[in-house]
């Protein structure tokens, strides 16, 4: 009885340790639990392992490689996530949330009852309602609505499940983006991609597990923290891959250094490090040996995967790529290549969706239409391309912004503005998901007649997170990391899986 209990406790401890820091894991492995025999890691580079590597002691693969693949606790629906974030907040009212009634109220004062107790970023006084600035149609078998700003989207509309009544309590870009990606509007928490990579590792050891691609000329308002690792080890933060310069910082060998020379260099470093290990026995040295080999392989794999030139012409056309430039279309194609190669989390940020109406590019009719044109074809292509490769069922695609936009026309400074625009609005906005585990053609949630608030199926940012984690095989309430005396989770103390959009 006592033995049994001990065994249970020990097993539990090991399970916890697996989710803990690597140092903890060494401790549990030191008890003889699983893992990779030391000698095996030298097989590749040294056919005659030196005597000290014949030690019977075993380490887990994660000690040597913090990105080693781990299985999630529950059976996952998808292996990878592609998250498309429209930074600046796209207008749901011109894209997916059709509000014919808003046409009727166009130009009328916004009812005071809606304004009471509300805070807006720029709207002052009593703004006027503004009807949809796009035309809508029901498309596909699902009959879901989409506007004429997105002509290609109808070809994939039946793959997608809409969330029509997402809400957030943040209405400034920086904090709202942080909230959307870390579950907290304040800094210091890990991003979803960091959580996923921490929990699952990477399927491809020659590529970063969490890749970030940006377009639109700017990085997100909240800076690199939206793909940061917070209190998780920094190895789990997103790696920004760039279209100009080195795709990953310092990935290119210095000028004049051939691959051969780099190989000789790394061989020399690792041979000496092995001698060092024989003296010190510090497992960190083994990890370093492993990391240098990975670095060498990564130097080949990253430029390869980041190069879209070798894609067939029809694929390039399908996405509408512009090789050599920084574009959302290129990034969509890259996202496909990355998940195809086993990258866990691909995060795209496209900047330029902040349509206040203060400048032409930021107008709700002209500017937004252009932004939609930039993403429409690539998104449809991404879904179809993943599908034709059989990858869609293993991939989750998430689309959204950090909040939505007001049904009222913005009146910054209580004046009429140069262009038509809408202010930031967190009460109700649209997101969608597609891919494995997602109910095709679903539409969950409903907003009121003018699209101001959700009246059915309201979901929070935490709910979205819980759903993403669920599809990756985690119970968001159990997936925690101990920090500062507390078990932290992505969803803090909230969040419910949105079952209505699951297949």
């Amino acid at each position: 009885m006592k033995d049994n209990l001990e065994r249970l406790i020990r097993e539990k401890q090991v399970r916890e340790a697996q989710a803990q820091t690597r140092r903890h894991f060494i401790k549990s492995c030191a008890q003889g639990m699983g893992g990779l025999a030391l000698s095996s890691i030298f097989m590749g580079c040294d056919p005659k392992p030196s005597t000290n590597t014949k030690s019977t002691m075993a380490f887990s693969e994660r000690d040597l490689n913090p990105l080693a693949t781990l299985s999630p606790p529950f059976s996952p629906k998808v292996k990878s996530v592609i998250y498309l974030h429209m930074a600046g907040a796209p207008s749901q009212l011109e894209m997916f949330d059709y509000k014919p009634q808003l046409h009727k109220y166009h130009g009328q004062d916004c009812p005071q009852s809606l304004l009471e107790g509300k805070k807006f970023a720029f709207i002052k006084g009593t703004p006027k309602l503004m009807g949809p600035q796009a035309e809508f149609k029901q498309e596909g078998e699902s009959g879901n609505w989409v506007s004429n700003f997105l002509p290609h989207f109808k070809s994939v509309i039946d793959e997608v499940a809409f969330l029509k009544a997402v809400h957030t309590d943040q209405f400034n870009h920086g904090p709202a983006q942080l909230f959307m990606h870390t579950g907290s509007a304040r800094l210091g928490r890990p991003s979803i991609g960091a959580w996923a990579t921490y929990g699952l590792g990477s399927e491809n050891q020659n590529l970063p597990g969490f890749v970030v691609l940006t377009s639109g000329g700017n990085t997100p308002d909240a800076g690199k923290s939206v793909w940061g690792s917070g209190f998780l080890p920094s190895v789990y933060q997103g790696v920004q891959c760039r279209s100009e310069g080195d795709p990953v910082l310092y990935i290119e060998d210095p000028d004049g250094i051939t691959r051969n020379l780099k190989k000789s260099t790394i061989d020399a470093i690792n041979q000496i490090n092995k001698e060092e290990y024989a003296k010190y026995a510090d497992p960190e040295i083994l990890a370093r040996i492993n990391q240098y080999e990975m670095a060498y392989r990564m130097q080949i794999a990253v430029p390869e995967v980041m190069n879209i030139n070798n894609e067939p012409e029809n694929i390039k056309q399908m996405y509408g790529v512009e090789p050599g430039k920084e574009s959302f279309a290129n990034n969509c194609l890259l996202a496909r290549k990355l998940v195809e190669d086993g990258v866990r989390f691909v995060q795209l940020f496209d900047w330029g969706w902040d349509t206040h109406g203060n400048i032409r590019e930021g107008s709700i009719d002209l500017g937004l239409r252009n932004k939609c044109r930039e993403i429409d074809r690539p998104i449809a292509a991404l879904i179809l391309d993943l599908k034709q490769r059989g990858l869609l069922e293993d991939t989750l695609i998430v689309w959204g912004g950090e909040f939505g936009r007001t049904p009222m026309q913005e009146n910054r400074g209580n004046k009429e503005m140069a262009y038509k625009g809408r202010d930031h609005h967190g009460d109700a906005f649209t997101m969608w998901m597609a891919g494995g585990g997602i109910k095709k053609g679903a539409a969950h949630g409903k907003t009121d007649d003018i699209g101001f608030s959700g009246i059915e199926g309201r979901v929070s940012v935490h709910d979205v997170h819980a759903t993403i984690l669920h599809l990756l095989g985690f119970d968001h309430e159990q997936f925690t990391y101990a920090f500062q005396g507390r078990n932290f989770r992505l969803t803090d103390v909230e969040g419910e899986v949105i079952k209505e959009i699951l297949s």
Binding site: L249, I257, Q291, A295
Partner: protein, 910 residues
């Protein structure tokens, strides 16, 4: 954690631990060490500060013995079998058995709880919340003959007695003491962050001086302050930009330099604390003491369009409250913002009482970051002194302070974001109020200080704008009327005002008929009323007054500081309902948690009092926190491993008595001297051990928490770069000043609405120590980020050390390391003697003799490289683009040097 870990270790240490358990059978159960850990780990998640399932909580004593929802208390003192708590542990029904849906408690745990209740269920304080008055140093039996077999000279000071006592109980022996070159490198890296100079090392190796002299010499070097400031700046969240969306630059480097100097002069830690938290509240604070308060001005400032300054001012106050507790008390008080602490004995109100200390400073999340201390140049300072001498001569102390403050940081004033009821005027989001013709607005509830003057800070594109100031509203009596002319820069001007001595609404209107409607005629930034300058009736006053206005309009280097609200601007602090600032409830007064040391009524109820409370010798956490973190810096592990948290969820200390002994000694014997504390630690035999281990040693003690070997830790981000520059002779010794921008890849900085550029520094500024590298929060220096440095947006207590391929790419490919490798190779190049060239480079970098294997391996790399470089003439030229005549030999040696800089032994302090 404690017990679970013991169970886990049974496989290894079974006998010792088992004996430990069985011996305790008849003994009295200790609440703090035996019961509280079980309650915290197994029960408190559901029966604690947040959830009180069944109406039962184990957080506070009164709750634990109170009636639960069943109407009965769950614990009946002296009667375990009658206590529901014990019954539930034995239940078979899974719906009733506790812990609910979790594994059953172990027999030992149930036995402990049972005996504890039978013995009267005495509640005690958690060890973290009381500090013993003294600690006995463990005695070693027969000390004269004390010689650990493996390490004849282990016992160097009292620290070793504590360490030895634990090692002995685990039947382990310490390592021998490290060789001189090894310990000198370790020591120099720990104290100065750099390897020792060749001379210092030689003198030490040749026994020209002792280890103690080496320690003292290193501690006296200026580089000590730079190394340890890096650690403190992580806590202080120091950066060169404001953070958030716009992330504009911030000039606050004077604070960084203050920290370096404070450490170098070994400013006592209690004073170091008081000056940073409340330097402005000290009597007649010096400029340095004001600069110290920038500690809490390192909070972020949100300039994003459309953000509410008050919301982010509150975010700042919350950050200050949390950071203060994280930095000085190892306590995550942030939890208590929304509810009672889930595990630690802090109450919801405690948070807001603490927050009240920080809620009365003048800074208000404005883009100007006011108050900023003006550091007048010498000539300007003379003018300022003239004015202050006058005020001192004809006025009282209070007036002197008011004028000194106003000259130093132009507060208190009413800033434009507080103005209300705009007509033909608009707050232009974050900077100023824009007036048009016939514009007006109200400043609510302003106090005019009975002043004969009003001060305005403004810009204007037009001449002849008539400004009228009235009391109350458009129909109120005129208090001032004057004309404002063109001013392209921000201008502070003084205008005559009718004296009134009360709080009242102030109405301001503008008129300029010469300008079309809806055209900006005036940008108004702030309005101020300060007491009249004394001696107005005396001759010479108007000259002094002009000097005063001139000084207000001079620009100078600035640094943001804390300044307290005057009485008439005081804010009250209210509880936030579930942490939301929008729903504020009961008003609270400043105060500290009851769980910790008592408040001394002599202390002022402000930040100064709070800082005195923190450094009060009865505070159980301040000294422990500091010694634990210094220990962590040196050994890579705290005596309490969770350096963020010393409390009921923290790991128990590996050496509890040593922690307390060091804490007491730090306060009493060392008089809060951080240098003395460091000296004591690095002088121990524990520290001076070899860091070699065996697979078995790592199996028994992977984290080295028993200290049977010396520390072996990868260097920090800045240290890795500093060391590369140091061994290659490139490192600049220049100290202080604005952040520098060494080369980084193009296109790294891209921030919305911020046109700031990374402008590569010239000359020696390219080779400054990492602590001087410009840190933009949304985009820190990339190679530091890769080596686990943070973005300093919030307080960072620990940089988790990782080991990743991206790090390898930095030291292999970053041009900084190529240039350093080249210099290392070139400096050690001996013509026609490759063996010696390689050996010298290696030894310069690692301070170790090269082994035959290493030489062989590096020579082979040299030969391979030479072959390639000889085949391709262009290769060495492009590789060493900075060298005029790059030979294949130098190219090959550079690659060898680069390999050396990538060795684990180079990247690691061993």
């Amino acid at each position: 954690m404690n017990l679970v870990k013991h169970v886990l270790l049974w496989g290894v240490l079974s006998t010792a631990i088992l004996l430990g358990f069985s011996c305790q059978d008849s003994k009295r159960v200790d609440f703090s060490t035996q019961i509280k850990p079980i309650l915290n780990n197994k029960c408190i998640t559901c029966h604690g500060g947040v959830k009180k399932n069944g109406g039962f909580s184990l957080l506070f004593e009164e709750e634990a013995f109170a009636k639960t929802e069943s109407g009965q208390p769950a614990i009946i003192r002296g009667n375990a079998s009658g206590s529901e708590l014990i019954k539930r542990l034995h239940e078979d029904d899974p719906e009733l058995r506790m812990p609910y849906e979790k594994p059953k408690l172990s027999n030992e745990e149930i036995d402990l709880l049972t005996r504890w209740i039978d013995q009267g269920a005495e509640w005690g304080e958690h060890w973290a919340y009381s500090l013993p008055a003294e600690v006995d140093v463990p005695s070693i039996a027969n000390e004269a003959s004390f010689v650990p077999e493996s390490s004849p000279s282990f016992l160097k000071n009292d620290i070793d007695r504590f360490i030895w006592a634990r090692l002995e109980s685990e039947a382990l022996e310490p390592n021998p003491q490290a060789e001189k070159n090894i310990i000198a490198r370790r020591l120099a890296l720990d104290i100065t962050g750099l390897p020792p100079s060749q001379e210092l090392l030689q003198d030490f190796e040749n026994e020209r001086f002792t280890y103690e002299t080496l320690v003292d010499t290193l501690l006296a070097q200026k580089t000590y302050g730079e190394k340890w400031a890096t650690w403190w700046l992580d806590l202080a969240r120091y950066a060169d930009s404001k953070g958030y969306e716009k992330d504009m630059g911030r000039s606050i480097w004077k604070y960084r330099d203050w920290v370096i100097d404070a450490l170098n002069t070994d400013l006592a830690y209690d004073q170091f604390t008081i000056e940073q938290l409340a330097g402005d509240l000290l009597p007649e604070p010096s400029a340095d003491q004001l600069i110290a308060t920038a500690f809490h001005r390192n909070t972020m400032n949100n300039d994003e369009g459309g953000t509410d300054d008050e919301e982010y001012r509150i975010a700042t106050v919350i950050d200050r409250t949390n950071t203060t507790f994280e930095v000085w008390q190892s306590t995550t008080i942030g939890c208590v913002q929304c509810h009672g602490h889930p595990y630690d004995p802090f109450k919801h109100e405690d948070y807001y009482r603490l927050m009240a200390f920080f809620n009365n400073t003048r800074d208000e999340d404005t883009p100007s970051e006011s108050p900023v201390l003006k550091l007048y140049a010498n000539e300007q300072q003379k003018t300022v002194d003239q004015v202050l001498d006058w005020v001192g001569q004809y006025g009282n102390e209070e007036q002197h302070k008011i004028y000194k403050d106003f000259l130093q940081f132009t507060e208190p004033v009413y800033k434009s974001h507080f103005f209300k009821e705009f007509q033909n005027s608009v707050y232009d989001d974050h900077a100023s109020v824009v007036f048009w013709d016939d514009g007006n607005l109200i400043i609510e509830d302003a106090y005019t200080n009975n002043s004969s003057y009003v001060y305005l800070n403004y810009r204007s594109h037009y001449n002849g704008t008539k400004v009228t100031i009235r009391e109350k509203d458009a129909n109120g009596p005129v208090l001032a009327q004057f004309t404002i002319n063109k001013a392209s820069e921000n201008t502070t001007a003084q205008f005559a005002l009718k004296n009134i001595d009360r709080k009242t609404d102030i109405y301001i209107e503008t008129q300029n008929d010469a300008v079309a409607p809806e055209v900006n005629i005036l940008n108004l930034y702030w309005v101020g009323f300060i007491q009249d300058m004394p001696g107005m009736e005396r001759s010479g006053w108007s000259k002094i007054n002009s000097a005063f206005i001139k000084a207000l309009n001079t620009t100078a280097e600035t640094v943001p500081i804390l300044a307290e609200n005057p009485e008439y601007m005081r804010r009250t602090t209210q509880l936030f309902d579930r942490g939301s600032w929008l729903t504020q409830t009961d008003t609270v007064q400043p105060g500290t948690p009851e769980t910790l040391n008592a408040w001394n009524p002599d202390w002022p109820e402000n930040r100064l009092g709070l800082s005195k409370w923190i450094v009060d010798k009865r505070n159980p956490l301040t000294a422990r926190t500091l010694v634990n973190r210094v220990w962590h810096q040196i050994f890579g592990r705290g005596l309490v491993a969770t350096i963020e948290d010393i409390g009921s969820q923290s790991e128990p200390p590996s050496h509890p008595a040593l922690l307390d002994w060091l804490a007491l000694r730090f306060m009493n014997e060392h008089q809060w001297s951080v240098k003395n504390l460091i000296k004591e630690i690095v002088s121990s035999g524990t520290y001076r051990q070899r860091s070699e281990g065996t697979p078995e040693a790592y199996q028994i003690d992977p984290e080295n928490e028993l200290y049977a070997r010396g520390p072996r830790i990868r260097l920090g981000a800045e240290q890795i770069r500093d060391q590369a520059l140091a061994v290659s002779g490139l490192l600049s010794t220049k100290m202080y000043g604005p952040g520098v921008m060494p080369p980084q890849p193009d296109g790294v900085w891209k921030t919305v609405y911020n046109s700031a550029q990374w402008i590569e520094s010239k000359g020696e500024d390219r080779y400054r120590r990492g602590i001087y590298t410009y840190l933009k929060r949304t985009s820190p220096y990339p190679s530091f980020l890769t080596f686990d440095a943070g973005s300093r947006e919030v307080c960072t207590i620990r940089r988790t050390i990782t080991n990743t391929p991206l790090q390898a790419l930095v030291t292999l490919n970053d041009p900084v390391y190529i240039e350093a490798s080249y210099q290392l190779a070139k400096n050690n190049y001996i013509l026609n003697n490759i063996d010696l060239s390689i050996t010298k480079s290696y030894e310069k970098a690692t301070l170790k003799k090269i082994t035959p294997t290493r030489l062989k391996v590096l020579k082979e790399l040299y030969r391979n490289s030479l072959l390639e470089f000889s085949k391709n003439n262009e290769a060495p030229k492009v590789f060493l683009s900075f060298e005029k005549q790059p030979t294949p030999e130098l190219g090959a040696l550079t690659l060898v040097a680069n390999a050396i800089m990538n060795l684990d032994e180079f990247l690691t302090k061993a």
